[in-house]
Symmetry: C2
Subunit: 501 residues, 2 copies
């Protein structure tokens, strides 16, 4: 490796460490930090963010990058070094547009805002959160104006999470999906009472914790390089490929949330644990985009976790953990109950059919908030009206409405659509994997998840973030992203479940 | 406040944040980090240490400090600003002597060394730890040679933890204590079988956790600004005065370790939680030295926690938590059992009489290691021989011998003596507090710890680290540090307990 590429890698490794350090501060904030720690924590996170930004955007980085580019020009364009330099150029050009003071202020503000949101949500008090959200949006608008855009200010945000994706493309996808989803939801509603009622009972949290730990381990999650904790909002975070952590949350009177949140976060974690060791501490490490990440979590949560085959594997484990609730439950009963389709208030607990309508609602509202067409004060009313329009239900309070998600408090605007992109890609990957792996369903029934994990390792994880999301999709599935796999999957699965024509 | 003092304070606040960030990384490493995280964590800690050191020793800090000194010259020498500048000058002059590369290497090496030590201890395999310890000592010697010293290389290390304390003073204290402690230990051994046997039983960890949380809260530990977790080595760490955490460890078949480790760490935590809010993020915040810190932990653990009055408070709580083991136990029986004096292998579980002999042994050995008179390879044998000489017992393995403490793996050489200084000061503070607080013992019997905590807040905590340790001792007790209070306390208490002349 050339001297200038080596020097650039060294500098980037340090900048990477700073990012991971901020991650540890964030993980602690979400899991164990006592309330008193919030003020100092926001200063600590702001400082690390500022230092990271300063170090990345420093002239020295630019010089190293320019030298490395000159050398990489003679390399194969698809070599690790050439791609690394290309990826860095893109992030560097983007980062230098943001003043360091704004990056630090954004980090400090959104850390505090998450605390304010958590309290406001607990008390279902939107007014307590509104000023903080207003300020977050102001800063997001400043970031957008620094980044610039061609057609739509939202493009500048979306691109942070899904490199190369345009707002117009997302809109087009939703235009295609929306009528399908609304029609399917309505058709299923007419078939209500199809034996899909939730399996109820008492599910002690310690037992859920033990069960979900085992489920994650069975999928292939390596606990010597990870751990599971409880947090108000399930998430996955990593501080190296060998320290990839997930969080989940449990309710005593409900078992599905804990199990499916665990499968979801395990999907993210498997992707990060599968990042190539040789990419560690470089711009090639880790998942490539939020959408591709979400394809991994949704694939394990839904395509695997809500399949009949998985129910065959899962049922005896549920019966062992919660004998009272699950004795006498059949595979068919379990399969129907985990695939119950009903309009509901909470996105993360929504079924596969209605889920993307929750995303559409957020995609629309955040574009309207960003442009100023929608005022923060009017947000709860508009949220509720839109819920009525798309799902036919009105949240009884803001806790189950506009306050349910952490994203806007964390300054994440432009992130939500990647959930839907992930759902589409999960179905597309699933179709490809089914063709590639003989007897995939039989493996799953027997709790053998290694064939699928190995396929994903080879066809998605192994690329780290070396290629563009679009390239990864094409390499893995042989085609560009399409919503057809997903809509066909929904039609087939739920058509059969609910006896639709 | 003048402009240059304000600018200095701002810079020091950032440097302080970096220190706290390193603390979060350390806390996580000790409590929750999966094994795979170790390698990246050592890089992260090394990076933060390097940045902290670079930022503190930068020319810019020196310039700000010089300007602030010029302005502080006109202030009252005991004003907060004057003291802050004076304290910073001292740490700055010290820090600039250490090359940044050495500071970072020391941080990286000792982080990895702690992992190696933990595995070696678990397997009682000193040979597995020896090369790492050797390297730690090499780096410590380099640090000493950069820092310089007048009489004894150990002075340079001791001064890091106990500002102004000299090795010769510590030696003199041990010369006085040693015969007392050895005689007292022997005299008590002759009275063995005095009804001081441990109270045995089965003590589920969840119940110990609940009990000790309550005990800490009763002492005044504020859980909105702290939390208790489990770790292999109990410690207290803080990320602000409003986020002060303790860890403890439990054994299922033993209740004393968990309870007394909690009281000990709570003592440290109360000191940090009591640091004046207006000193936050300045060189005046937090405990002044390891010795004064240890006086707080030992005062709560021993002078309070092992008093007859505390046993009156504690017994019903133990009976509630562990009815089987404690039914029929009297206050006298409890009091005798928590004050059982017997030579034992593990320092942190040692009684008040033998404890300082454990420290003396470490003080001697680390001076010999530092000078090279003692080779690492010979350490286990010399440790065991010295245990036999001072305590009349020989550790059956290195886990219960030379591998028991984390300190040397963490690069902490020169720290151990501060435990004994803390014991002496605890007794001296206790004598003073008893004169100052009417009915102190009656308060403790009733679980009213506020009078003592308030006295400590006013007479120790309120000073933060503004004054020198010696000044704090004099302000709080009206006299310099003396070992008389401690030896008299031991003679009186254990003379009565064991019926000595």
């Amino acid at each position: 490796m050339s001297e200038s590429i080596r020097a650039l890698k060294e500098r980037m490794a340090e900048i990477g460490h700073l990012g991971r350090i901020a991650g540890v501060l964030e993980w602690d904030l979400q899991t164990y930090m006592p309330p008193g720690g919030a003020a100092a924590r926001s200063e600590q996170i702001a400082l690390i963010s500022r230092m990271t930004h300063e170090m990345f955007t420093a002239e020295e980085t630019g010089d190293l990058l320019a030298k490395a580019e000159a050398e990489a020009a003679s390399l194969d364009g698809d070599s690790d070094e050439a791609r690394m330099v290309r990826n860095l150029r893109r992030s560097f050009d983007r980062a230098v547009k943001i003043p360091t003071s704004l990056a630090a202020e954004f980090a400090r503000q959104t850390t505090l805002s998450q605390e304010i949101w958590a309290r406001a949500r607990a008390e279902s008090d939107f007014a307590a959160f509104a000023p903080s959200l207003e300020r977050n949006l102001e800063l997001v608008r400043q970031i957008v104006s620094h980044l610039g855009y061609e057609n739509d200010p939202y493009d500048a945000l979306l691109d942070q999470y899904e490199k190369g994706m345009k707002t117009a493309e997302v809109s087009a996808i939703f235009e295609t999906l929306k009528p399908h989803l609304i029609d399917l939801t309505r058709a299923i509603a007419e078939r209500a009472g199809s034996g899909d009622e939730p399996i109820t009972g008492h599910f002690p949290i310690a037992d859920q914790n033990a069960l979900t730990s085992r489920l994650a381990a069975d999928l292939g999650y390596d606990y010597t390089r990870g751990r599971q904790d409880q947090a108000p909002h399930p998430f996955c975070i990593n501080f190296s490929r060998d320290d990839v952590r997930i969080t989940t949350r449990f309710k005593e009177d409900e078992w599905m949330m804990g199990v499916y949140a665990t499968l979801h976060e395990t999907g993210h974690a498997l992707y990060e644990q599968g990042s190539p060791a040789e990419y560690e501490n470089t711009a090639l490490a880790g998942g490539v985009s939020s959408g591709v990440h979400e394809s991994q979590s949704r694939l394990w949560e839904n395509l695997v976790g809500r399949s009949r085959a998985y129910c065959i594997y899962l049922l005896p484990r549920l019966q062992e953990a919660f004998p009272e609730a699950f004795s006498g439950v059949t595979v068919d009963r379990l399969y129907r109950s985990v695939n119950r389709v009903r309009p509901s208030f909470i996105r993360v607990e929504a079924d596969e059919v209605t889920y993307n309508l929750h995303i559409l609602l957020r995609f629309e509202l955040e574009r309207e908030l960003l442009s100023g067409r929608l005022r923060v004060a009017d947000l709860p009313a508009v949220w509720n009206a839109r819920m009525e329009e798309y799902l036919g239900i009105t949240p009884p309070d803001d806790r189950r409405g506009v306050l349910q998600d952490i994203h806007w408090s964390a300054g994440l605007v432009g992130y939500f659509p990647t959930y839907t992109l992930g759902n589409l890609l999960a179905a597309q990957l699933w179709d490809t994997a089914q063709r590639a792996i003989p007897d995939l369903e039989a493996h799953i029934e027997r709790g053998e998840f290694a064939p699928l994990l190995e396929w994903l390792r080879a066809n998605v994880h192994a690329y780290g973030s070396k290629f563009e999301p679009n390239e990864v999709i094409r390499k893995a599935t042989g085609a560009p992203l399409s919503s057809e796999h997903f809509t066909r999957y929904l039609q087939t699965k739920f058509g059969a479940l609910y006896g639709l024509a």
